[in-house]
């Protein structure tokens, strides 16, 4: 059990617009988002003394800091495993401010993931040195298992076989996300809801995944300012408490392709590890969570996350999500910003911002009296999650 409970806050959030072609460099997006977060917090950017981002981000902390004019950095961390690290950045920043290593930390993620290097395209290790990261792809790429959709589709097929979940059950996640995006002016799919029929009729990407099971590719940046509750009292930004944050990997862990575990039939034990830590640290239970942002690069893992966090039993997510349970007004509204299927794919960071807005009472799809919000990071990879709260 960690002793980080309520010892750090998110006091500022900032983002660029989310688009398909930002027209500016990833570094500029990072600096714009970071500056916006500082202004939201009421922090002088020159006083930022810590920076956290994560792997696959091309913006070095010192370059972001140069633009902000930071006088000195006392802490910088680059968290591993892509989108799985999103909440991990907040954990690292919280640890830094809670221990006094740093006072004011900016977490950021910015990319041109649609107009630049697209994650949905086929992965290649051509030209890479054959180190352990490249060699791991030897077990998938030569066989044409080259895209995130294909890696997740393999899990999804097995999950359907074991639980009786269907493509329509995956579709219910997409319908909920797009319903929420439809009323979020910042969402790419603003005013563009879909029906279950639209989902079923969308083309195959990696059967059992349809196009509408897959998140968007997006350009944009998102940043946060993390500090202590004491310091936040002197800042104008409305602070939201980081009740707990955790990272997790599990036994025989691989990146996106943990197909080899001896039990074989549990898709996300690494998220189960994170869930156990968050429940133990906070003493909260699933019924205490008012709304959640569950990482939705692909719909099937949203079902598996509901099970790993204990919102329902194993294999029962298909029943849990029926009848609008995950839509606004339901038992557990999820991805009220539209998620990464509906708002934008900013590698999990825009979901953390939505968690903050829900607790500030400023979300476009506000859940009444939200006190505890769960936000998860990338699934299929070593991952992370956090619970934010109002005190």
């Amino acid at each position: 059990m960690s002793n980080l409970l309520n010892k750090a806050v998110i006091v500022g959030i900032g983002a660029t617009e989310f688009s398909k072609n930002s027209g500016r460099s990833e570094l500029q997006l990072a600096q714009e988002a970071a500056l916006a977060a500082c202004r939201d917090a009421g922090v002088n950017p020159q006083d930022v003394d810590g920076m956290v981002t994560y792997s696959m981000d091309t913006n070095p902390a010192i370059e972001v800091a140069r633009g902000l004019g930071c006088k000195e950095l006392n802490f910088f961390s680059h968290v591993d495993y892509g989108g799985g690290a999103a909440a991990g950045t907040i954990l690292h920043a919280a640890m830094a401010v809670a221990t006094g290593v740093a006072k004011t930390v900016v977490c950021y993620r910015a990319f041109n993931e649609r107009s630049g290097a697209r994650f949905g395209q086929a992965m290649s290790t051509a030209g890479m040195a054959p180190d352990a990261r490249a060699a791991a792809y030897a077990w998938t790429l030569p066989f044409g298992l080259m895209t995130p959709a294909s890696w997740v589709g393999m899990f999804a097929q097995r999950y359907m076989h074991l639980t009786g979940a269907t493509s329509e059950d995956f579709g219910r996640v997409a319908v909920a996300d797009r319903k929420h995006a439809a009323t979020n002016p910042k969402a790419w799919f603003y005013e563009k809801p879909i029906t279950l029929e639209d989902h079923q009729n969308s083309r195959w990407i990696a059967d059992p995944l349809h196009l509408l099971d897959c998140c968007q590719e997006s350009d944009g940046g998102q940043a946060f300012v993390i500090t202590t509750p004491e310091r936040a009292k002197d800042l104008p930004g409305k602070a939201v408490t980081i009740r707990a944050a955790a990272q997790g990997a599990a036994y025989d862990q691989h990146t996106m392709v943990s197909y080899y575990r001896k039990d074989g039939d549990r898709p996300l034990p690494e998220m189960g590890n994170v869930a156990r830590q968050l429940w133990n640290d906070t003493g909260l239970r699933p019924e205490d969570i008012d709304t959640a942002v569950l990482y939705d690069h692909f719909t099937p893992f949203v079902l598996a996350q509901l099970e790993e966090f204990g919102f329902c039993g194993r294999g029962e997510a298909k029943d849990f999500i029926k009848n609008g349970a995950i839509e606004l007004g339901g038992r557990l509204p999820i991805n009220t910003n539209g998620g990464q299927l509906g708002e934008a794919y900013i590698h999990g960071m825009n979901g953390i911002a939505e968690g903050v807005r829900q607790l500030r009472g400023t979300a476009v799809n506000q859940v009444e009296n939200a006190r505890n919000v769960l936000v998860t990071a990338g699934t299929g990879v070593p991952t992370s999650a956090l619970i934010l709260g109002n005190d």
């Binding site: 290790t125 054959p130 060699a135 030569p142 044409g144 393999m154 195959w204 074989g264």
Partner: protein, 150 residues
């Protein structure tokens, strides 16, 4: 498993080659066994007899660094699969199937599933695995329905 390599005819349609595996000291044996002997070999712990795949230098069961490749029988069952439509990178063609095959020895390996129509694919179906030459440099295991037409 067959020691005779099946030639996959190069189509005029595409001269593109499959992605090359990144080979290093930890995984070379797997591709060498396929290329040189037409054998599917899995890493086997010399000290505790544990099979492990994908390979890793240290045995997760006993932490031994002593291992050797062990030839598999070529029998297995379908654990899961995906049918690929987008994006398609040559030489792959739309509708190809990638499978996770559980070998009868207990480990799972990703490989292509061929010789079966999409609608006839069933998780749990028995499979026969054989080494097949993809091009001059690359031999890979391929799964086909057991007992069916090869």
């Amino acid at each position: 498993m067959s020691e005779t390599l099946t030639e996959t005819p190069a189509t005029a349609k595409s001269q593109a080659l499959r992605p090359r595996p990144a080979i290093n000291l930890d995984n070379a044996f797997f591709f060498e066994s396929l290329n040189e002997r037409g054998e599917l070999s899995i890493q086997h712990c010399d000290d505790c007899n544990e099979l492990r795949h994908p390979p890793v230098p240290m045995c997760p069961e006993c932490n031994s660094l002593h291992w050797s490749p062990k030839t598999m029988s070529g029998r297995g069952i379908l654990h899961s699969y995906v049918v690929m439509y987008h994006p398609i990178v040559p030489p792959f063609e739309p509708g190809y199937i990638v499978a996770v095959v559980e070998l009868e020895e207990g480990v799972r390996v990703v490989m292509n599933l061929e010789g079966v129509a999409r609608e006839d694919v069933r998780i749990g179906m028995p499979l026969h695995i054989a080494a097949e030459r993809m091009d001059a440099e690359l031999v890979l295991p391929v799964a086909r329905p057991a007992g069916g037409a090869a």
